[in-house]
């Protein structure tokens, strides 16, 4: 009987465990020191806001793991001996070890700090782990003013969370518009104007220069590169995440920013694999980044590695790109690739259609100017059907086809307005204007 040990019980590791159990008789151990059970990281914000409880965010109940004979070990993996195939573990002050036939590293990410003066002061924190949630509870208890740094998804989560607690929030963003490294400028601009209404403390093109502390090393304010001083008792750092792999330095496992893997998720060491946020693909699939710190890709890697281990040799082969997020009350979904202005491909043009400016509903379709191929769609305030867009993207449908068949793709609750006519009309005008 082969023994599989998974380090990390996030979406990647847990998905892997579930599928390996379905597809094999392997002995399975899953190690985590963060949380005894797999919880939804993306739901931490809802716990803080009092919408759900921690146990509501558990993917599977305790009994699920017992029933499926997946052994959970609540300890910290300290070191791996790849020749003996043994992992050293530590829980509080007890040290013990476990052996493996296959080892999978799925340790996720950690927040990235950029060496700001006083960044270790009390009241300065990132927001990624379960512990960060507890820290934030402490820090937010008596906080009146907060400064957030970083215009990504975690930053916007923090902004919503702190405002819910009536904490006056300054949200500093390096870029000209929120998320315009990912979104086309036209989308980023509309989104930024929405966010500035929800979070009046939004400050664009502003960087953190220094964190001010008092004698007790508690944060009392920040200075920005625009010369502004802001008094605050909480600083949230959300300037991105990086693979959580420092503990692997002493092992022969090859790393760069993340654990380096081939398309089969294999590292340079035999029988050691890596998946999820902590993995770095040496040869990523076309149009994919080497490191993908996204919930969905973690899950897909978990599924695929299970297939690779238990069914037949399989490589990482995600379908067309998709993602989703929520900015305050505004839902966002994307299918295919709508590039930011900087990353735009040759012939890629964007058709933006504002459907309801009061309630912030709009879509942007990326298409190929030459052959009308549909490249991708961003939708704000409108729900779209994943399966339909996946199929259309695989079949390389034309944009004309997409626009004429939008009704099939809407996923809004019943009685919502069907915007397909509006989209069609706007698209025809757009084509006339652009001469395509």
């Amino acid at each position: 009987m082969k023994k599989l040990v998974i380090i990390g019980n996030g979406i990647a590791g847990s998905t892997l465990a579930r599928w390996v159990r379905k597809l094999s008789e392997f002995e399975i151990e899953m190690i985590s020191d963060e949380s005894p059970l797999f919880y939804s990281r993306t739901a931490l914000m809802y716990i803080f806001m009092g919408d759900v409880k921690l146990q509501d965010t558990y993917g599977y109940p305790q009994e699920f793991f017992e029933k499926n004979n997946i052994k959970l070990i609540n300890a910290r993996a300290e070191h791996i001996d790849v020749t003996q195939k043994v992992i050293q573990l530590k829980k509080e002050n007890t040290e013990f070890e476990t052996s493996y036939d296959y080892l999978v590293i799925a340790t996720g990410s950690k927040p990235t700090f950029y060496n700001w003066p006083n960044q270790n002061a009390k009241g300065v924190q990132g927001f990624y782990h379960l512990d960060d949630l507890h820290t934030l509870e402490e820090n937010a208890k008596n906080a009146k003013n907060a400064v957030l740094l970083g215009g990504g998804l975690i930053g916007i989560e923090l902004a919503e969370m702190l405002q819910r607690r009536n904490i006056n929030t300054h949200f500093l963003i390096r870029e000209k518009w929120y998320w315009n490294g990912v979104l086309p400028n036209s989308d980023a601009e509309l989104l930024t104007s929405y966010i500035s209404k929800e979070c009046p403390g939004l400050a664009l093109e502003t960087n953190l220069k220094k964190i001010e502390v008092n004698a007790q090393n508690e944060v009392i304010g920040v200075t920005t590169d625009t010369g502004q001083s802001i008094t605050c008792d909480l600083v949230g750092i959300a300037t991105g995440v990086s693979p959580n792999i420092d503990w692997l330095k002493e092992t022969p496992i090859e790393t760069d920013k993340g654990v380096l893997i081939n398309p089969h998720f294999e590292t340079n060491v035999k029988d050691v694999f890596a998946i999820g946020d902590c993995a770095q693909h040496k040869n990523p699939p076309q149009d994919r980044r080497p490191i993908e710190a996204v919930w969905y890709t973690g899950r897909i890697m978990g599924e695929t590695l299970a297939r690779n281990l238990c069914v037949e040799s399989s490589v990482y082969a995600p379908g067309p790109w998709f993602n989703s997020a929520k900015f305050f009350e505004l839902e966002y979904q994307t299918y295919g690739l709508v590039s930011s202005d900087l990353m735009k491909k040759e012939n890629e043009i964007h058709f933006q259609c504002v459907l309801d400016s009061i309630h912030h509903k709009w879509i942007t379709i990326a298409l190929d100017r030459e052959n009308n191929t549909f490249l991708g769609i961003n939708s704000f305030g409108i729900r779209l059907r994943h399966e339909v867009f996946e199929q259309w993207l695989i079949e390389k449908k034309t944009t004309d086809f997409i626009v004429n068949n939008m009704t099939k793709a809407f996923f809004n609750p019943e009685f919502f307005k069907n915007y397909s006519r509006d989209i069609q009309m706007a698209y025809n005008r757009y084509k006339d204007e652009k001469n395509i």
Binding site: D56, G59, E303, P318, G319, L384, E414
Partner: protein, 493 residues
Amino acid sequence: MKKIYSVLGLTGLLSLIICGILSLAQSMVLAFSFSCMTLGVIGYGYELHKHHKNGVYQNKLSSRGFTAWVLGLVLCLFYILLYFYSSHLEPIIRLFDPLSANLSGKPATQWFVYGCLYTFSILVFGVKFLFKYRGNRYQQLRTLSVMFFQFIFAFFLPEIMARLHGDIPYYDFKNIWPLNYYQYDGWRVKQFVSSGGLGIGLLLFSVLSVFIISPILTYKFGKRWYCSWVCGCGALAETAGDTFRHLSDKSVKTWKLERWLIHVVLGFAILMTVAVVYSYLRSDYSKYVIRRQDFLWFILAVNGLLLYYLLKIKKTFLAKDARNGILLFGILLGGFVCYGLIAEPKHLFLLQSETLRKSYSFMIGSMFSGVVGTGFYPIFGSRVWCRFGCPMAAILGLQQKLFSKFKITTNGGQCISCGNCSTYCEMGIDVKSYAQRGENIIRSSCVGCGICSAVCPRGVLKLENDSPSGKLKNPLFMTGNTYSINTDVLNKK
């Protein structure tokens, strides 16, 4: 601001009680009290939801804190007084005399007062709900619908009918047997029959509702057409109970309890009604156009057909314990009916039908649906009765599971397992456990309130009744992985 509105609302409620006890001027008190309560609830709701705040676990009332227990206690006490010691409510009942006189021309009863408070709650908390879900048209229409049905069908029409046709019993069109278990009681049937064409029409309509109208509607829309668009119990749960919806228990254990409990109540309701009808029918045509024998043959035929349908045709849809339960009940009912046909006993089920009727009325009608069902809103959530006790929900649930087009679809691979859907499911369905596997949700208990879809942050859930095909979709890998298109994963094992 929230505090001011709470005080205002409570002032309204207290003024009603105090002035009732002191027997003060009537219509002024009522107007004052109801205005205060309306302003209090709506104002509070506005303050709470103007920034889309939810935060139910940060509020003592909605997280089983001290105030929740106080409210639960007060509600239980109210129901006990209402059902069993209504004479203590007499002073308050008198406050409602002028209103009752205007509507039906009769003095107020405790049921009239209850009806007023009930309808009032649905209307004011309905407004709060409409505001909370202001961006969601499904929620808006559904809530307007329950407010309309409660106000017109349950409150207004029966009172007016009583004024126009004094001899027709109180009849709420939308209250269908077995939810209104008293519909075929002897005295009611007698009154319906003796009040001529309209009465007989209503009686026929009530039978059609059970056997024809409701199955067709459930086929087309799922049980939501009733439970979250029409029903009065549902209306209260969705409006006044909305604050407590997340308190429903999601464990598998409770699900198991629910399956047994609700179907036992249904069985009890059926036996009780058959016994009651049998007791007043005669073996000749002297009183009614239907004889005892005809009725028993009818029951036997329905019983047989249902057993064949459930255990033979729809076998794969039902779990083994469910099939065993159905078989046991079918044999029990069929046996007694045969015994009735052969021996023509005085009491069909050995007990007096009145004993059965009374114990059902006490245990299910009063204790379960009232005291436990509503009194415990702040502790067990808003749909305790609908989930564990309502025999009507049990019937519609079976129909929903067996032949309805209704389902909740999940959107490919978009689920992030955040747990909002399960948390806010008032029926205790662990929606997430299906969504995160990419499976459709087809559960007999789902009342189709659509809140799972409304609270989902990633646009994953959608209520649909487009087609019955693909109901049991159970994908291998979730959408977004190329291997999910090849369905050979498990075969290669």
